[in-house]
């Protein structure tokens, strides 16, 4: 983590004692959105850190499912891949993937799904497939859908975690891998999707939420030390800002210590 990314919030004494970096703030903000007892569909990286943090703090009864088949798992260290042995060893049960996708996800049993993306648009549609002009001849080929398309479709709510820059927050994404709100109200219904769609987009700068009627993303909270201008400058469209814009609470010492301890359990550095 470069020094320039260390975020020092001048107003908070907690922050002065414990300067945090933007990944930590993003992780902690995501963890705080989870409620005890929720059934969560989790992926590798920040979603795992956030879910494990929430389970260790305010939501001990979070029910975590990973697409690899681990049901109600309770990892004590950060899984390095989706099939990490820690996820299987700490699980209530390990099942095959048809059970995960057809019986858990598809009927709407999952309360909250986590997604990341390379690109997002104002209606929270996301791209994890390719960057460039065409599918056949991409500039950068990305891994693709994995579980994301159906997670975006069927979870009751979805959290998208993504760093905010004009390269990621773009007016038009190069490929819709997973549908957010399509081209606006009614799009999800027309496409037969049963979930509510993205509820929060959590970035390194703040939190965005879809506006109730237009479904367009609105900036609803700034992380400490971040300005509205900074967020606007890192968004590739005319970003709407909520009238009652909030500020995320600074990470507490406990949150920071737990996040750092978790990250330290991974044997390699995550980029």
């Amino acid at each position: 983590m470069a020094i320039s990314e260390i975020n020092r919030a001048g107003s908070s004494s907690e922050a002065e004692k414990n300067p945090w970096n933007s990944n930590e703030m993003m992780t902690i903000a995501a963890a705080r959105t989870l409620r005890d007892g929720m059934i969560c569909f989790v992926g590798i990286g920040i979603p795992s850190t956030a879910a494990i943090l929430a389970k260790a703090t305010h939501a001990p009864n979070l029910f975590l499912i990973y697409e690899s088949g681990t049901v109600n798992t309770n990892p004590q260290k950060l899984p390095l891949s989706i099939g990490d042995g820690e996820l299987a060893n700490q699980a209530l049960s390990v099942v095959g993937m048809p059970e995960i996708f057809n019986y858990w996800l598809q009927p709407g049993r999952i309360d909250m799904g986590f997604l990341g993306a390379a690109q997002i648009d104002r209606f929270s549609n996301i791209n994890t497939t390719f960057i460039g002009e065409s599918y056949e001849n991409p500039k950068v080929r990305l891994p693709g859908a994995g579980g994301a398309t159906e997670i975006a479709g069927a979870c009751k709510d979805v959290i998208i975690i993504i760093k905010q820059t004009t390269r990621t927050f773009v007016p038009k994404i190069d490929f819709i891998t997973s549908l957010g709100f399509g081209d606006g109200p009614g799009s999800r219904e027309r496409n037969g999707l049963i979930g509510n769609g993205p509820k929060y987009v959590i970035t390194d700068l703040g939190i965005l939420e879809p506006e109730a009627t237009s479904k367009e993303l609105v900036l609803t909270a700034l992380h400490p030390g971040v300005s509205v201008e900074q967020v606007i400058a890192n968004t590739g469209w005319d970003l709407k800002v909520a009238k009652d814009l909030k500020e995320s609470a600074a990470p507490t010492t406990e949150e920071l210590e737990r996040v750092r301890a978790l990250v330290a359990t991974s044997s390699r550095k995550k980029s």
Binding site: I44, E67, S68, G69, T70, L80, S81, I82, G83, D84, G85, L87, A88, N89, A91, S93, V94, G96, M97, P98, F101, N102, L105, Q106, T129, Y135, N137, P138, R141, L142, P143, G144, A145, G146, G147, A148, T149, E150, A152, G153, A154, F175, I176, T177, S178, L179, G182, S187, R188, N191, G192, L193, I194, S267, R268, S271
Partner: protein, 278 residues
């Protein structure tokens, strides 16, 4: 007749040029040694099916074995890109490959349909995604019972499915435990099945979260200790994360990959995988 065979015999007897192959195992129990043997036997024109191509198909693609890849998530898990896959897809090296891209739910259900002997399986999936316009073997249909739109995915029936498991018993039944992904469905969907195992045991001790593949479903079994390395085999060894990171460097350039191919595959014999990577 015993189905136990050497790895060389098992691959030679069951994998032919032009076959559709599925080497399954979701991050865990990836049949890496079997993949190496396919490369060593210079099989060509394969259609390679797998949810997560992982290192194993990056190697097969880079070695020129594959003409078409059917997949749903193409990355190096926890590390980054599959450079050999990208080089083949974008630049045609060492040969042009085509792709058929799915979601995990979709490709899993293609196996389910194949395993069930049905022409297709149904799901609520792909909807709203641009994949709908790009991907063969999916179609939107009307539910015959209500007014819902349903997505159908065509069955896939590999000529051969290859999996790695922990144990075979004396009769040739196989037991795998821990994360098994879509392996069971890929086995039932296949015309022929090859299993590599960590060890042969006299009889099984029941394990939590295990599946059994009865001998009747299996064509050949090869005992290949550490045959899933650098992925892992629960109860035997851990995932070698350093090897996944190291692969990024090996695969990045054609030259380093070619050198790896010569040294690690072609210069080694079929049974060299056994215990060699401890």
């Amino acid at each position: 007749m015993s189905k136990f065979a050497s790895l060389e015999e098992a691959i030679s007897a069951n994998v032919n040029d032009g076959d559709t192959i599925a080497l399954e195992g979701f991050t865990h129990l990836i049949p890496m040694a079997a993949g190496h043997e396919i490369i060593r036997q210079r099989k060509r024109e394969l259609t390679a099916v797998r949810l997560t191509p992982d290192l194993i198909y990056d190697q097969l693609i880079g070695a020129g074995c594959v003409k078409k890849l059917i997949f749903s998530w193409g990355g190096n898990p926890g590390v980054g890109s599959l450079h050999r896959f990208r080089d083949a897809y974008q630049n045609g090296w060492p040969r042009k490959i085509t792709i058929e891209e799915h979601t995990h739910a979709g490709l899993t259900n293609r196996y389910v349909a194949g395993a069930s002997g049905m022409p297709f399986a149904v799901l609520r999936g792909y909807f709203g995604s641009d994949l709908v316009d790009k991907t063969e073997n999916i179609a939107t249909i009307d539910s015959p019972f209500d007014d819902q739109k349903i997505l159908a995915v065509a069955a896939i029936n590999p000529d051969v499915t290859i999996i790695h498991a922990q144990q075979a018993d004396r009769q040739g039944n196989v037991m795998a435990w821990g994360i098994t992904g879509s392996s069971k469905e890929a086995v039932f969907a296949a015309k022929r099945v090859v299993v590599t195992v960590e060890e042969q045991v006299e009889s099984f001790t029941p394990k939590f979260n295990s599946i059994i593949i009865p001998e009747a479903l299996i064509s050949n079994i090869a005992v290949v200790p550490k045959g899933a390395w650098p992925s892992y085999a629960s109860g035997y060894y851990e995932r070698d994360n350093d090897a996944y990171i190291a692969w990024d460097e090996v695969a990045k350039e054609r030259e380093s990959f070619t050198k790896w191919l010569d040294q690690e595959i072609y210069a080694k014999s079929s049974d060299a995988y056994q215990g060699s990577e401890a």
